[in-house]
């Protein structure tokens, strides 16, 4: 039983999801931090939905949306000649939605703790909004960015229900680690199941220790500043 194709695929999926989420979640989290728009709670609720929805619900809706009967599925089919379901691109879209709150929320927390005073100081010194964001907000939110990256990567690595619904279990294209574990148990291949499960367990645990260490440093730094 060769376990490497599934691992490699999972790592590719998680890395790309993380990068796309950085691009989407950063402006979204910044907007949510700064806006006085009355719609904000609505958008925040939408972003947090994947935290509480069963992945199977998300997967079911995505399977329906990706069907060639629907606008999204039909458009994709016209552009690429292939269905969105059962493709790596389909999994990537699913993962971005599924891990969105894990990127947005740490960034929002970080941006909120930057504070208005520092930004105002930067503006007074003649920095434009983009310059202020780049040279003040980003360095001060470094830990938030790191946490968002690590969590969205790890969460994508652990997804199962969504992939099961829209992946189609194609080796090298959509057969990720969690699906491989499921298959291994179903075919009574407990050696493979143990290997992959133990690997994921240890990796996830280390990731979370890293996140909590970061947060701990953050807290002690704030206490020191007071």
């Amino acid at each position: 039983m060769n376990i490497w194709p599934a691992i490699w695929l999972s790592v590719q999926l998680a890395s790309l999801t993380m990068l796309i989420l950085l691009l989407i979640a950063t402006p979204l989290a910044w907007w949510l931090t700064r806006t006085r728009n009355p719609l904000r709670p609505l958008i925040e609720a939408l972003v947090a939905l994947p935290l509480v929805l069963p992945p199977t619900v998300l997967g079911f809706y995505l399977l329906v949306l990706m069907s060639p009967d629907m606008a999204l599925g039909a458009l994709w089919l016209r552009l690429t000649g292939d269905t969105l379901a059962f493709s790596f691109a389909g999994l990537l879209i699913a993962s971005v939605i599924y891990s969105l709150p894990f990127a947005v929320q740490p960034l929002q927390t970080a941006f909120q703790s930057v504070g208005k005073g520092v930004l105002e100081a930067a503006t007074t010194l003649g920095a434009g909004p983009w310059d202020a964001f780049r040279s003040v907000v980003i360095p001060l939110s470094r830990r938030g960015f790191l946490t968002a990256m690590v969590l969205s990567f790890a969460h994508t690595l652990g997804e199962f229900g969504v992939v099961l619904m829209v992946g189609g279990n194609i080796p090298g294209k959509t057969r990720v680690i969690s699906i491989e574990v499921f298959n291994a148990v179903e075919t009574l291949d407990y050696v493979t199941a143990h290997l992959l499960s133990a690997g994921l367990l240890v990796f996830s645990f280390l990731v979370l220790i890293f996140v909590y260490l970061m947060n701990g440093k953050d807290r002690s730094k704030r206490r020191g500043a007071e």
Binding site: G73, F86, G168
Partner: protein, 249 residues
């Protein structure tokens, strides 16, 4: 008020008298057989007065649960191999289990006209994007589908268009949602939902025999044995045939 009291008393009396006579059976059933099982179960409840609980899941998952001591009385597998394995592991009350249903494989399409040219031509069409089949390693209908492709010498030509469902239910869903144009599914599913399908010649795949076993958890449970025997009776067989299964002799 008095009427209410009498009613409540009568209700309790009914409950207790029932509890003395009626037994409880828990049946673990492979998901492909669930609709037929629900119908057989409803009849059995009515005729016997016993309580019957139905647990469904994939054959592999149920097998793993039973191996770890899950409290099921009867196991209705999608294959015979798992029942034989349970027998070898000493998880059956007696014997080697028995066949209870024969599955038939069909090539299914949601939309009209897709299957107009027959099995081979439909699968070989250039503009076919995906056909769905269940995992040959875990699902008996998936194994049958891969045998059909081999027999018709299509496997090398079309396998790169296959999308694999974790089980036959998911495979059917891929076709039903329009994500795959064709799919190898169970006749029972096609009959239950409707659509277009072609019967696949039975000589192109090994018979899909579904096996049942009476589990050690049913020890001393007369209701469980009663249900196990009921499966081979005429009433259950009538439901089987109506649902798209063959009956094994």
């Amino acid at each position: 008020m008095r009427l209410l009291k009498t009613g409540i008393l009568a209700l309790f009396a009914g409950l207790f008298s029932g509890a003395v006579l009626a037994g409880e059976v828990t049946v673990a059933v492979a998901s492909n057989f669930l609709p037929a099982m629900q119908e057989i179960g409803a009849q059995f409840r009515q005729e016997s007065g016993h309580t019957l609980r139905i647990v469904n899941g994939s054959t592999g998952t149920l097998f793993a649960q039973i191996s770890k001591g899950a409290p099921y009385d009867v196991f209705l597998s999608a294959d015979t191999a798992r029942v034989t394995m349970l027998a070898k592991a000493g998880k059956l009350l007696e014997g080697e289990g028995k066949p209870y249903a024969l599955g038939s494989l069909v090539l299914y399409a949601r939309d009209k006209g897709v299957l107009a040219d027959g099995i081979q031509a439909s699968l070989l069409r250039d503009d076919l994007r995906h056909f769905a089949m269940a995992d040959p390693e875990t699902a008996p209908y998936g194994l049958a589908a891969s045998q059909v492709l081999e027999t018709l010498e299509l496997d090398v030509l079309v396998m790169q268009k296959a999308v694999i469902g974790a089980n036959i239910g998911q495979t059917f869903g891929f076709v039903k949602t329009g994500n795959a144009e064709l799919g190898f599914v169970a006749l029972s599913q096609a009959m239950a939902v409707g659509g277009e399908w072609l019967d696949i010649p039975p000589d192109t795949y090994a018979p899909i025999v579904q096996g049942a076993g009476l589990l050690i958890h049913a020890k001393g449970n007369d209701a469980a044995r009663e249900f196990y025997d009921y499966l081979s009776g005429d009433a259950a067989r009538a439901v089987l045939v109506k649902s798209g299964y063959g009956v094994s002799e």
